[in-house]
Amino acid sequence: MTKQRPIAIDIQKVVKRFGDFTALKEVSVSIGDNEFFTLLGPSGCGKTTLLRMIAGFEDVTAGAIFLYDQEIAKLPPNKRPINTVFQNYALFPTMSVLENVGFGLEMQGKSRAEARRQAGEMLELVQLSQFAHRKPSQLSGGQQQRVALARALAPKPRVLLLDEPLSALDMKLRKSMQLELKHIQRETGITFIFVTHDQEEALTMSDRIAVMSAGEVQQLGTARDIYENPRNMFVADFIGDTNLLEVSVDKIENGRATCHLGGGHELTCDPVAGVDTGARVHLSVRPERLFLSSEPEEVESLRGRVVENIFIGTDITTILDLGVGPQFRVRASNSDRGNLRVFEPGQNVFVNMERGAARLLVD
């Protein structure tokens, strides 16, 4: 987030307790105006709870939530210019699609005719005009999802909250909805706070991502930042595919950390704040940042034996045994025509990595 962008939602040290269970532990996040922001984390980590607190359905145990410098933690949901696309859509079953979409506008004090007119425009945006007079139960899941989106967008909220809106859709529809959502966000300029447990979806769509686990934000950054520089074990493991190696840090000098991982393997990598000499920590290497060779190369390398090659269409994943730790995965793109060399199982190879590919993790 750049500095000049105003803050739309500022969550300051927010705590949420249900009885003696703490669902959120001092969460602080600032979400910029016009940003596509994603809360990503496994089921039960507190994403919905945080979203419901922003919408006003749950009260805040401690901390504060600001909407453009206005403290909103005490405002009831109907007084917040924030709308929600609910996980189960929560469409009004007794109203037509058009009435559903117009409901928020009507409650804002617009005349019924005006509400209908604007709702009609909204339905055009989500390409559902021909279904305006149907009841929600007469629509498919994907169409219901779009009605829910149109209904939440119609009153032109300052912030739109989306709680796993695509999780009930099939893969293909989901992909196209991801693009459509992103498109609508850009077009309307509304700040989106998007919740998902699907890391791929988060990486595809977001300007910035907050990775959550067990009621805490583990890391906050752009998709690229989080993917390439995971801060800890949880993030490295949750986002994308990675090789995790347990290492001991032997020495840190000249801006390089030297680590060994048993079995005679040694590696140097960039040091990380919070990891000192002698520490036993984890190291993460993405499979696509590695390449294999039969002769040593002028880069960092480990030695291993090929166990298996797995062909997955776009890529070939080679499983290796380093003689220490869990099996190691190396991924090569299927289109590296000239460079791609597939090694047979049982062959001894060098596993090479560019500088910066291996990341030390704070546990």
Binding site: N78, F86, A90, F103, M107
Partner: protein
Amino acid sequence: MAGGAASGGNATSEAYAPARGWLLLPTWVVLGIVVLAPIVLMLIYSFLTKEFRGGVIWEFSVDAYDQFFFDRGLFGDDAPTIQWAYIQIFWRSIWQATLATIFCLLIGFPTAYFIATRPANQRTIWVFLITIPYWVNLLIRTVSMRFILRDQGPLNDLLQWTGIVAEPLTIINTNLGVQIGLFYSYLPFMVLPLYAAIERYNFSLSEAASDLYAPRHKILTRIVLPAVKPGLIAGCILVFVPSLGSFLAPDLLGGARNFMIGSLIDEQFRGSAGNWPFGAAASMILLTLVLLVLMVLARQQARLEKGAG
């Protein structure tokens, strides 16, 4: 419409088609005995001639209906005039039953809403508590109510003791007495169907409405009430219909001046003062009235369901 699932369903029901007739036989027999036979009997009796010590003479006559609607009689010499006395009793009954239904709704809805929003394991206990008084016979409950409400009864004692009123309130033998009796008799018939409907209500719809700027009263009128309408209509029917024909509450708490149809009919079949054909005719008129109300409600329900698809 020739989808695989649809045709599969048809095939199944076709396979049972020959058996359908006799499988439903017990239902038809029971319905015939408990519903159709009494009504047909009543209809026949309403067109017979009355016998002076109760009972009937098997001779066709429209006297009963004549007596109900016309003063001088349709077959007399003078021009017939409308007999208002019985129509008035009917009118009072409809009015009392409507009022009782409204009171039951006003108290029953919040009660049902309260129960439905308790944690799941507490709801049954609340429903149980609501129904406990109804394990006692209606007659005994109505007599007890008379005891509680009378001038020197516990209610007036309490009101005087707390200084709310100086003189005892006369409730027995007033419209209010009848109202309290009807309300008390039929409240659970309102609460239970409403509770069933509200329990099935998806409360995230209320959240969605609130998210879309609806204040509380709008959530109630625009979202909750339409969603629980079937339960609402069922509750209203279950209170209105028995209230209309009720005779215990009007007799014991309303006295002679607050006569209702139920009492009128009841009287016709008692002792030697009775008039069976007239009682039967009044019953048929009441039945017609109730059917008309139900038909209107049923049509509305059908429209609702058609809308919900």
